[in-house]
């Protein structure tokens, strides 16, 4: 589904503060794989995710999604395959717009945003039913601005929004980093359920080693812009939670 081929990315080239964030990573992520990436700060996890999303372009190497070379394709064009959940709950939703407007935009992620009014009673009902599955009681608040909701509620809604339109790849950049433990659990469970139900290819970056242990079908550890460890589903299930902690000591 996603093929990353000898990708390099550096920042501030030729200056004193030069950083080589990604140093020639090659990674093949097959369809409906749930890849978890762990690694210390500055190991290049987020840069790798941004390279896949198209927020930054590789200096060298190539990236393809669904057999299309996307190395130089802008992020807003990659949205035909990719949905994203950001670390900051504010980044994934528009606070001044109500839940309904946010969902409307998400439901036409892969289509043109035209000059017709798309929100009708049928659409409202559809959104209500989707939101009901979260069990947060938000289905009666669809006219409320996103900004009035908590971070956990916003992250959960962002997840739901990602499957409002056809979605193949889900990128999760520390989606629970800003949340309390209870909300974090709801968000992670929702993510896992959506990934299984919709057979999504997913990449999760996390610092929470418990989540890294509990979720996903493959785990890699990154260090200094390279893949240090790469464990498939079998190896991952044989892994003990303490082994993960040992990776960081």
């Amino acid at each position: 589904m996603i093929a990353i081929n000898d990708v390099h990315k550096g920042f501030n080239k030729g200056k004193a503060n030069q950083v080589n964030a990604v140093n020639g990573i090659t990674l093949s992520i097959p369809e409906s794989e749930f890849l978890v990436i762990v690694g210390s700060n500055g190991s290049g996890k987020t840069t790798l995710l941004n390279l896949v999303a198209g927020s930054v372009f590789p200096d060298a190497g190539s990236i393809s999604i669904d057999n299309n070379d996307v190395s130089k394709l802008a992020d807003y064009k990659r949205s035909q395959w990719i949905a994203r959940v950001f670390q900051n709950p504010m980044s994934g939703t528009a606070s001044d717009l109500n839940i309904l407007d946010n969902f409307r935009l998400a439901s036409i992620r892969t289509k043109t945003k035209g000059l017709s009014i798309g929100i009708n009673d049928k659409f409202k009902q559809q959104v209500r039913e989707k939101i009901e599955t979260l069990g947060m009681g938000l289905e009666n608040k669809i006219e409320q601005p996103m900004g009035t909701l908590s971070g956990g509620q916003r992250q959960a809604l962002t997840l739901l929004m990602s499957v409002m339109d056809s979605c193949k790849v889900l990128l999760l950049d520390e989606p629970t980093a800003a949340l309390d433990p209870r909300s974090a659990e709801v968000v992670m469970r929702t993510a896992d359920k959506l990934i299984t139900d919709f057979k999504l290819t997913a990449i999760l970056i996390t610092h929470n080693l418990k989540d890294a242990y509990n979720y996903g079908t493959r785990i890699i550890q990154m260090s200094e812009g390279l893949v240090l460890r790469d464990l498939n589903n079998k190896q991952k299930s044989d892994l003990k939670q303490n082994d993960l902690f040992d990776w960081f000591s």
Binding site: D75, G92, A94, S95, D101, L105, I108, T110, K113, I117
Partner: protein, 289 residues
């Protein structure tokens, strides 16, 4: 009475400008001050085409296109060259001064005894009241169009662009193009205000746009205080309040003049009024504590 009627008419003339500022500042979160230039541009294009006896069916689209181009230029400079929006606006406004002078060929163009939009139809005998009715219809149509636009999928994407850029890019919107379109729309509206005011006043002038951005800002700020006060979320009510803001703003100015304040001090009074409205929430919380 006539005094307040003409304040009302001026307010309605400026409502397109207020809508434009609302779009750039509130919807896109871009402090666009191309306004001074595009407002004059709208007025100048109207004046020159009127004196050349062009059909109103040509003048209106010409004004909209001229304003749109000015806004799109600011948008291009801001998004593609990554220049600060304020500077981009200043640069375009500055060069528009030369453009406007070149189009007019002189600094002032009287339009006395030239037929205008307001003499197109004679609904009532009194010319000022006639102007008022024609203007009202015009403003209602514009407001309806903008309101409809904001309700469409495109409009929601516009509103999201100023709100959460990362989100809307992840949802497949080219934010650069969206901002350029938005600034073009905002300045097309601003040019429409120039178009209206020139026909109401009966002349176009090279310096008519100086500081006009304050009038638009003032109107939007008056509207915004009401929007926050009553926690309004409906697009229609918000647009109506922006129109109301433009009218209230002109009434305050007219009232100031009626009080006998020296006309030379008018701009200072305007600035003080805007300052007062902006600082009202802070002042009231200071008082409370």
């Amino acid at each position: 009475m006539d005094f307040y009627l003409s304040a009302l008419i001026q307010g309605l003339c400026f409502s397109a400008l207020a809508l434009g500022i609302y779009i750039s500042i509130k919807i896109f979160n871009i402090p666009d001050i191309t306004t001074d230039g595009s407002y004059t541009l709208g007025g100048v294009v109207t004046g020159v085409l009127l004196t050349h006896h062009q059909s109103p069916y040509i003048i209106l689209p010409a004004v909209i296109i001229a304003g749109g181009i000015a806004g799109a230029l600011t948008g291009l400079i801001h998004t593609k060259l990554k220049i600060n929006a304020l500077l981009a606006g200043i640069l375009v406004t500055y060069s528009l001064y030369s453009v406007n002078l070149t189009i007019m060929g002189r600094s002032n163009l009287p339009l006395i005894s030239v037929p205008s939009l307001f003499s197109l139809l004679n609904l009532v005998a009194d010319p000022n009241q006639n102007t008022f009715w024609i203007l009202s219809v015009f403003v209602i149509i514009i407001t309806f169009l903008i309101g409809y636009l904001l309700k469409t999928d495109f409009g929601i994407a516009m509103r999201a662009t100023g709100n959460s850029e990362s989100m809307i890019r992840a949802l497949g919107v080219n934010t650069d193009r969206m901002k350029i379109t938005g600034l073009a729309l905002a300045n097309a509206l601003t040019a429409l205000s120039g178009y209206l005011i020139v026909q109401f006043q009966g002349f176009a002038d090279i310096s008519m746009g100086i500081g006009i951005v304050i009038v638009g800002l003032g109107s939007v700020i008056v509207a915004e205080s009401l929007i926050n006060w009553f926690r309004i979320t409906s697009v229609w009510v918000i647009l109506a309040l922006v129109l109301g803001g433009a009218v209230i703003f002109q009434f305050v100015l007219a009232f100031t003049l009626a009080l006998g304040v020296d006309a030379n001090l008018l701009k200072m009074v305007t600035a003080a009024f805007v300052l007062l409205i902006v600082s009202l929430p802070r002042l009231s919380s200071l008082k409370a504590s």
